[in-house]
Symmetry: C2
Subunit: 363 residues, 2 copies
């Protein structure tokens, strides 16, 4: 086997890529991602949690702080929502030049779960949120150092977002109790936001009268061009379309191999800003042509799309892109930022078409 | 964040690392690996299989070839076995110099499932295996090119192995129907052998009167020093011990951070050659000291172990190693081979111990 393109990927990045799972792109064929194929980004270790001992504290700027058991939460009104999550760092390893090093995602840090839990808003309302509340902090049981700072993983959303009726505290995915890697026994789901907000192994919800200044909020997950910049915080998912790569793969390069003829290309598209309005496909750098759109699985999840491609013999590159009802669209090229967030440049898929397409592979 | 050690990992290798999941090492705390944390190595794509249409053919050198539905298989006697699988390429990316490039595993390509299915031997006996049978080929529905050859993934075992009473055709893992990534609707489980033998999306079992010459048997999965060598085929898992890295991690380097004092190090060890007889731990290159052994989960699965370490302030390196009842032991250093198979050199874990261990991290 030939050596591939040198990339400067470090052993540390490889260590993160081994731990953190992407969704193999053929799993886009499932409207709800099967358990074990949903992407995972776990900053520290998966904590060992005894659900019987576990408690959720709800405190800070509330009149009636409280502590809840899992059984108490599960006795509250339940709701199941299909929600698409994407890691804010998706596409990071495709940026040139490389920025600061972190989990080296290519295109696949996404997944859709059917999340079951109880809405957060009634709990906050019952607790009596102070009128000066600004942020609601979600703290997990996962602990470690990042940027030299020892920390429990914690992220906040503005109080207005926390009070949305679709924000859930969930204990199940796809009809099963949360497995360890998805936050057993409880995580928060804030539809529309990138994954860093969907705090796993949730143990505390804290209402603040000032902006949250935790490391993951103030230092990380910000769009900046240089270390000294404060930058804009990452929040909602930008639009993105991905396709199931057509044909079959070459093992090492993942180049797609296909026989000539009509090929139905299928994929999914999502945005945290609004419903997907358009998906387009470009072949070999040519015009963007419209794909057929399916239904959104829910207002918070991706929608399917398909495109008929007449595959002619030879080497081709397919791209796809989406735009949403809020007027956001995927850019032609990545928008570079130091920490590699929100890179929603179009997916590129290399395809070799022939009667025996494997003969077109470089030897 | 600082750039890490340059490693020459290529973008193609990163693409494989994104698709193929390792088991985060803290999951060693589970005797049975939770669904979604078991390692996955998928050569081509996960195929889309309609279980209602799917059939298993049993043919070749048998008197009564047959075709079976999933319902017919599930009506046969059932057995559930905890079995540990490891990828034959586990440890590949730690070899120096790098050999031929493939999935760049570090240490974590392992997992233990509780597999439920029906024994293969009675099916073969009923079919009437010819007396000149040599190999039994398992063919999957996963298809693609590797080494320039278009192929359906297929591996064989000698007829004597296929007739072992513990070889199962399985449709469930951990009490649940096989998910797509583990071979839905059926895979074979040959306890003791590396993962390449545990063929997923099984569609054909073929008895041969000559040695199987498929690409994955004759070209790949062989221990060789150079391209032109034929090499020895990879078969049973060599002994290996792994520990749950103690303390908490630094996000990027995964260096472990720990306060001084007594630290109980826990892990698991396995071998495909026989029961684990000994696990030992070495601190900072010092003497190998015995760990306490637990029970094997089954004759085909790992056993737990633990070791009490008095953690003194400073930087340390922990290693662990196992040996089995067949007299096999982990070597001090990797045994290099071109394709990076069976590297069972001891795991090394870097630990910083201090009252505020994060202050010991290089800035």
């Amino acid at each position: 086997m030939e050596a591939g393109t040198a990339s400067g990927i470090t052993l540390e990045e490889l260590g993160l890529a081994a731990r953190n799972h992407a969704m193999p792109l053929e799993a886009l064929r499932h409207a709800v991602t099967p358990l074990g194929l949903h992407y995972l980004l776990i900053h520290f270790d998966i904590p060992a949690v005894d659900a019987a001992e576990w408690r959720l504290t709800l405190g800070g700027r509330v009149e009636r702080p409280r502590e809840l058991t899992l059984a108490e939460l599960q006795a509250l009104p339940q709701r199941t929502l299909p929600v698409t999550f994407e890691c804010a760092g998706n596409g990071r390893a495709l940026l040139e030049p490389r920025g600061s090093l972190s989990q080296p995602w290519l295109n696949e840090a996404v997944g859709t779960g059917e999340w079951t839990g109880t809405p957060l808003a009634p709990l906050l309302e019952e607790a009596g949120v102070a009128s000066d509340a600004i942020d609601v902090v979600f703290t997990g049981l996962d602990r470690g150092a990042q940027g030299g700072v020892m920390q429990d993983y914690a992220r906040a959303v503005p109080i207005s977002e926390a009070l949305r009726e679709d924000v859930l505290l969930v204990w199940a995915i796809n009809g099963q109790p949360l497995p360890p890697q998805h936050g057993h026994p409880l995580r928060v789901v804030v539809p529309g936001w990138y994954g860093m907000t969907q705090v796993k192994w949730l143990c505390a919800i804290t209402v603040l009268a000032e902006p949250f200044r935790g490391w993951q909020q103030e230092v990380s997950y910000r769009m900046r061009q240089a270390e000294e910049e404060q930058g804009e915080p990452v929040s909602r998912m930008r639009p993105r379309a991905l396709m199931v790569p057509p044909g079959v793969p070459d093992f090492f390069t993942r180049t797609r191999l296909l026989e000539p003829g009509m090929c139905l290309i299928e994929g999914r598209a999502w945005s945290g800003h609004g419903p997907i309005e358009r998906v387009e496909v470009s072949v070999d750098g040519g015009d963007w042509r419209p794909a057929e759109l399916g239904e959104h699985l829910s207002p918070y999840a991706w929608c399917g799309w398909s495109f008929e491609w007449q595959a002619e013999p030879g080497a081709h590159e397919l791209r796809c892109r989406a735009s949403d009802a809020a007027g956001q669209a995927q850019p032609e090229e990545p928008e570079w930022n130091l920490d590699g967030f929100c890179n929603n440049a179009p997916q590129r898929v290399a395809v070799l078409v022939g009667e025996q397409p494997e003969l077109l592979l470089p030897s």
